[in-house]
Subunit: 346 residues, 2 copies
Amino acid sequence: MVRISDIAEDLGVSRSLVSKVLSGKMGQSTVRPELAERIRARARQLGYVPNVSAKSLFTGRQHAIGVFISRHGQPGSGLVEALIDGVSAELAKTQQRMILQFFHDEPDFEPCLAAAHRNLLDGVVVAGAPYFDLKPHLKTILGRGVPVATMFDTPVSPEIPNAGIDQTEVGYAATRHLVERGCRAPALVFISRPEVNLRYAGYCRALKEAGIPLRSERLCRLRTYEGAKLPDLVQALIASGEPFDGIVAESDRQSAIILRALLGAGVRVPRDVKLIGVDDAPVCEFSPVHLSSVSGQDRRRAALTVRLLQEVIEGKPPRHVLTPPTVSARESTAASDVGSVAPSAF
Amino acid sequence: MVRISDIAEDLGVSRSLVSKVLSGKMGQSTVRPELAERIRARARQLGYVPNVSAKSLFTGRQHAIGVFISRHGQPGSGLVEALIDGVSAELAKTQQRMILQFFHDEPDFEPCLAAAHRNLLDGVVVAGAPYFDLKPHLKTILGRGVPVATMFDTPVSPEIPNAGIDQTEVGYAATRHLVERGCRAPALVFISRPEVNLRYAGYCRALKEAGIPLRSERLCRLRTYEGAKLPDLVQALIASGEPFDGIVAESDRQSAIILRALLGAGVRVPRDVKLIGVDDAPVCEFSPVHLSSVSGQDRRRAALTVRLLQEVIEGKPPRHVLTPPTVSARESTAASDVGSVAPSAF
DNA sequence: CTGTTAGCGCCTTCAT
DNA sequence: ATGAAGGCGCTAACAG
């Protein structure tokens, strides 16, 4: 392993000079450009790579961050992969290292807590959608002087930077996409009460813009995150007699199940009913009809979260960012080829 | 941040004693158990966590490994996720850090090469199925004194430990599973020439064991990894008039496409034909008929790869391991009396 | 049983 | 324009 002192000896100069030249921080010093170049050349030639530990010892920075990911949520959504991809790409820029931990319930978070220490890492990114309250744990971590940034739907607290998705825009983008593709009666599947559901707000806005009346029959409320009841819900929607020509699902997984129910009931997709989900998951391309989806740009958002963390590590004020979603249009919302087909009554 | 010297001062003992007690490496020294306990108690109470950088500087170990993953291969296979999961779980045991990099072609490997340095990490795990020759690059890394372990189908070279899948067993397990579920005429879809295909060998062995004759009409050879030709292949198999009641696919993605083609042709799954793929990917559960699959136990295998790497880091000889696959039985190979999805739905 | 010392490789302040 | 010195936190010889 070649060290600074090797280069210094080689060239008959002092270690400090080499250090200053190679780090580019000359301080009060100056060098003859010619010497500087010789130093750099020798370093390159010898394949000099600074020893991060030594640097860390001096700077007090570990050159590493923690990445704690909640596994809660369906597997196969591709979220975890996108997330890690974004994080690692961002960290690679500075060759930062990471401590990656997955958790799904509260006891699982214990190892994360243990690792969240200044002597091991410089800060922590927490991502996913944990179903327990993380706030006290994050406070603990902050209390140790370890900065935290989150990638949640909603920020945990003002001092913790967060990169979220604009859920209102998700509902809006999905609904608007359906309208643009010719739908005049889009339905919405949702879980929480409409009053508190941001996507519902976006759905309403898109309808209003298009001059389409809001019909409660087209609001399909789920009681649980499990997809088991979905086919029934679709049946009920069809049986209601209320015409509909589009469905905004809450996820791609839901979307896939709904597709199956629709096809099973003899409804053609996208001709009779257009379908759009959320997540832009790999499933979209595995479905018999490829599914359109609203993408939360998770990869990009994960990279953003890392940058938000780095900002607070550098002492800058915490920022909260909402990233706008994009639509990945696929077969399930393809424009009806024969003009605008009036929604047939089922 | 509490240091060893803080504890030492607190208790009026020397730093080295504290160091020895806390690290458990007493060397030539001895301590009164009572004193040792007081030291440990104080450390616990103060929340002492050793500074890894300082330790690294001394030991020359970075307490970090590189994890370089080839992205080649279909997205949505869940491989990357399983892999990272296994690696991070193993590293968490010792709070090791990682440098995670994805690559898919040769230029992409450049950053990996740059990071693979003793001053940044202690060793490197390379996983996936790169389609270019990694050998020279791995040699370069080894040349720097950085140990490497791979998670490939076949080892790159004797000195590089590898955790592979026993592909012969994959073919055998899949075929045998079909036979056990009542198939008497299983077909095989494969890519390379039968002569060099290990899975084909396993397929043959399973047939032989079951006393089923090998029929070339049931060997369906693909020219490319793209699934586009698969439906044609299925058509051809059906048109050949050669009876078949099972299919071993090369992947779950293939399997999903084949399922669609079968259902489309009015073939009932699993009643008429049973279907099994490889990978145990999330797709299996998204298919209209849930797909059985042979699992390579990627999560476990990834953890194993890390252990193999740690062994060579510790100076032990490199080991090559082949892990046996397991079968995840689902609907697509259910015993025939179970109801099947009506193909008319598609 | 306990303490002293030197050094891992790098960076920065201060002196030359 | 360059170099010397000290120290980041920890460990392991070696002396007491």
